[in-house]
Amino acid sequence: MSDARKKYLLSLFSSILMALVIGAVIMAVSGHNPLEGYAVLITGAFGSERSIGNTLYKTAQLCITGIATAVASQGGIFNVGGEGQMYLGAIASCWLGAALNGTSPWLAIPLCLLAAILAGALYAWIPAILKIKLNISEVITTILMNSIAIYFCTYLANGPLKTTEKGIVSGTASLDRAFRFSRLIKGSNLTQTVFMIAVVTLLVWYLMSRTTTGFGMKLTGENSRFARYAGLNAGMLGILGMLISGAMCGMLGMFECFGLQTRFKTDFSNEFYFDGMLVAMIMQYRPLGIILMSFFFGALKIGAVSMQSQTGISSELILIIQSVIIFFMAAQEGLLASLGRHSSARRANRMRGGVKS
């Protein structure tokens, strides 16, 4: 194991430890017993068949969104817009699905999946092309596009695409029973989609780390000028990363609606993408790390739900812990980088986009 990797693992584990300590402090300050809180966290994640199912599904969710963040980052574009891409994928597939009600699932499901992928990829393509051609910061565009997507889909679900079924206040038409993915463990969120998520995650991981395409993306993401000089098509590779990322998010949108909901509902997501994005940031966009740590964070998230209902400690604590981990790791990494810095070349400011001379 190389020196750099050892340092990284040390930094990771010490940051997690520190963050858990801070979590305990926060619990204590708000009048709760930290030990009790953490204990419920564990039982909440693994205590019953149902909760294990939920944990596994959450792990899968984090994997796909985390890898989606990572693949875009590898190409040099930071995708903060996965939530929006997920929404568009969801509504596109639900709309198509409802339209195909009555047809064979072997026809409908692949078509709906395709719709989800295309919708997500297209929505990701917009900020990607703006970044590549006009150097507009993708962080701002993707975040703003999240809001646009959510509002727009809400509008569609309550307006033009609203179902005519009785008693439904908002949402698209119900999907044919035959189209829905069934649960593997009764009462839990673990649906058949978990297999597909696993396949997709592994495929993208393979692409990222073992292929010439992934190799090209990596080098493009690190130094696009160098990539061009070396003969790589930097623009295309960057966009490819975003397209794959958007496609994955769109897919998740479809899986959620076809698996856990019966239609497109405007509240089908609870910031699922951001959870995965945080894991990716903590694991510094390394695919293997993301897959492994998805389990750890998945357990935390599911456990937190029980923690909230049993002890009253809000589940937002997990997000707090995650961001604290990032703070610690960013500080350690920054410190290391500044010690080992060679040239005085100033770090290119990612936000600027060529505005200042």
């Binding site: 708000s30 703003l144 509008y155 309550n158 707090i320 410190l335 990612r350 936000m351």
Partner: protein, 301 residues
């Protein structure tokens, strides 16, 4: 659709009120940009300010205390950002994004766990005392009223412009971002300038947040910043850190939002809610295209 409804006085007032949040936050972001450590965590600072302001106002029964709480939170936030980015050389982009998520989670957590409510803060006893509003009489059938924060914001825009372009301190701040070593070589610490910018950013952004929960709206709601922080960042980029142009950009944004509200009569409100965000993106595209043609023939491929 009657143009008169869009360009009416009440739209104008709405524009002014909405944009005040963004202008204050943009001024804060602008300071850090001048210092070379542009903070994109301002969305988080706004939420923290909104929470602290609402809490302070409710707890102490006065809007002044609300502002004090918010500003204190601002100093802490600014210090936090400053230490991580300046002392520990962390990547300001990662810290910014993480801070936004952190602030969102923290304020939601505090509302739910400490106060025991969720969604929105509805005090059972007492209330969130709002920042005073100046009543300027009636024009037609519209009551003209503007918050004192609006006036403060406009004053700060001018003050910032004077500071940056007409005082030596403004030049130091700019030098610390454009060429920190030159400042160091004449014996002034660029790091101190950056801390100054961080703290200033924290103060201004939490002030924006305080206005949000104690003026524009009347209580704290989870996630209430609604990505306005990112809009502010876009305005700073658009205005190239010139306070006057940034101010113009925020007014533009405010206008689009206000016009959207106006159009809710005949266009679905969720659709009009997208307008400000679409507008911001279009603004950035416009800027980028103009830059491109100004540079003329792009020599390097």
């Amino acid at each position: 659709m009657n143009l008169g409804t869009i360009f009416s006085l009440s739209t104008l007032l709405n524009t002014v009120n909405t944009s005040t949040i963004v202008i204050l936050a943009a001024l804060g972001c602008l300071m850090t940009d001048q210092a070379g450590i542009m903070c994109i965590g301002i969305d988080g600072m706004i939420i923290i300010g909104a929470f602290a302001g609402a809490m302070g106002s409710w707890l102490c029964g006065s809007w002044v205390m609300g502002l004090v709480f918010a500003l204190a939170a601002g100093l802490l936030s600014g210090l936090f950002y400053g230490v991580l980015v300046i002392r520990y050389h962390s990547d300001e982009f990662i810290i910014g994004v993480a801070f936004n998520l952190f602030a969102q989670a923290l304020t939601t957590f505090l509302l739910r766990t400490l106060i025991g409510q969720s969604g929105s803060f509805h005090p059972t006893t007492g209330e969130v005392v709002k920042i005073p509003v100046l009543q300027l009489g009636r024009v037609g059938d519209t009551q003209v009223q503007i918050s004192i924060m609006v006036l403060l914001a406009w004053f700060l825009v001018l003050a910032m412009w004077v500071f940056l372009y007409k005082t030596p301190q403004g030049f130091w701040l700019h030098a610390s971002g454009e060429h920190p070593e030159s400042l160091r070589s004449v014996g002034r610490s660029p790091e101190k300038q950056r801390y100054f910018a961080s703290l200033g950013c924290g103060l201004l952004c939490t002030l924006a947040g305080a206005y949000l929960s104690m003026g524009y709206l009347s209580t704290f709601t989870e996630n209430m910043s609604a990505s306005k922080g990112y809009v502010a960042v876009a305005c700073v980029i658009f205005g190239r850190s010139n306070p006057l142009i940034v101010f113009f950009a925020t007014l533009l944004f405010g206008f689009i939002e206000a016009a959207g509200l106006r159009m809710q009569g005949f266009i679905d409100p969720t659709l009009t809610a997208t307008f400000p965000y679409v507008g911001t993106i279009l603004m950035m595209v416009f800027l980028a295209l103009r830059q491109r043609t100004r540079r003329g023939h792009r020599a390097a491929k």
